[in-house]
């Protein structure tokens, strides 16, 4: 087979899709009896640009930072980025009560456990 035929060219498509750089945010994960708490570093990401999605035991975090045109750069070490990360979460998370807050470029995600999943003290009755 001629090498030229291996790659099929779709003639005439002038796609100008610029995908922005993807990065993995650093996270801390804590747990207590009531909830799982996740901290993720997302410097420069605004509240409205963060998406948290929980579906079928899979938690996906996504935050986009668009700095825009800033002027003549002397140096540039960071730019537009999309922070992306996915986790498996137990089915016992009460999705209705999930809370998220953003402070100083750090996302705090509270994943409360459903009542049935909380540890319970069993009382022993004297018989």
């Amino acid at each position: 087979m001629d090498g030229k035929n291996i790659v099929k060219k779709d003639a005439g498509s002038v796609e100008a899709t610029r995908s922005i750089r993807k990065a993995v945010p650093l996270v801390d994960i804590y747990e207590n009896d009531d909830e799982i708490l996740l901290h993720a570093e997302m410097p420069g990401v605004r509240k409205d640009d963060i998406m948290v999605n929980i579906d079928n035991g899979r938690l996906t975090l996504s935050g986009t930072r668009l700095l825009g045109k800033q002027g003549a750069a002397e140096w540039e070490e960071f730019g537009d980025v999309e922070y992306q990360r996915a986790f498996s979460v137990p089915q016992t998370i009460d999705i209705e009560k999930v809370k998220a807050e953003l402070k100083d470029g750090m996302l705090a995600l509270h994943l409360p456990k459903s009542e049935a999943a909380k540890p319970r003290m069993v009382e022993i009755t004297a018989g």
Binding site: S19, Y30, D104, G105
Partner: protein, 148 residues
């Protein structure tokens, strides 16, 4: 050979994709060692951008989760030093599953392209980004020269 813009664009797009993938691999690799064995160049935290805006410089730095009080900025002439500490508090009563962020202290010294007026520098932190606005000193400002 006739190269169309679309082909070139696609080629760069593919290269970008490859770079992203490789970047992810490296990041995963770094992370697997934890912050105690940080292989990445430590001298480059925080990462900064510097923009020349005519009469002033604007420097932005990534400082996620770092409180205002824990950051110190020192300026003298064209020398700039950003230092501070990053404290990670484990919330009371929680057990730890995973820590990637870790405590650290950092110092970064930068040389600006021109002297700045240190008295007029202003700094703010928003969403984990430090923004320093540094007016250039009179001698370094651009000047309109009229031709006589």
């Amino acid at each position: 050979m006739f190269v169309r813009i679309g082909d070139l664009d696609r080629m760069f797009g593919t290269m970008g994709l490859f770079r992203d993938r490789l970047g992810t691999v490296f990041e995963d690799f770094d992370r697997s060692f934890g912050s105690a064995y940080d292989w990445t160049a430590t001298g480059t935290f925080p990462r900064t951008n510097l923009y020349d805006k005519g009469d002033h410089f604007e420097l932005t730095a990534e400082l996620p989760g770092i409180a205002k009080a824990d950051v110190h900025v020192k300026i003298q002439g064209n020398y700039l030093e950003i230092s501070g500490t990053k404290k990670v508090h484990v919330p009371e009563g929680y057990s730890v599953h995973r820590t990637e962020r870790g405590d650290s202290t950092f110092t970064r010294s930068l040389t600006l392209p021109a002297d700045v007026d240190s008295a007029k520098v202003s700094a703010s932190i928003k969403d984990g980004l430090l923004v320093l606005t540094m007016p250039k000193s009179e001698a370094a400002k651009p000047r309109q020269i009229s031709i006589g």
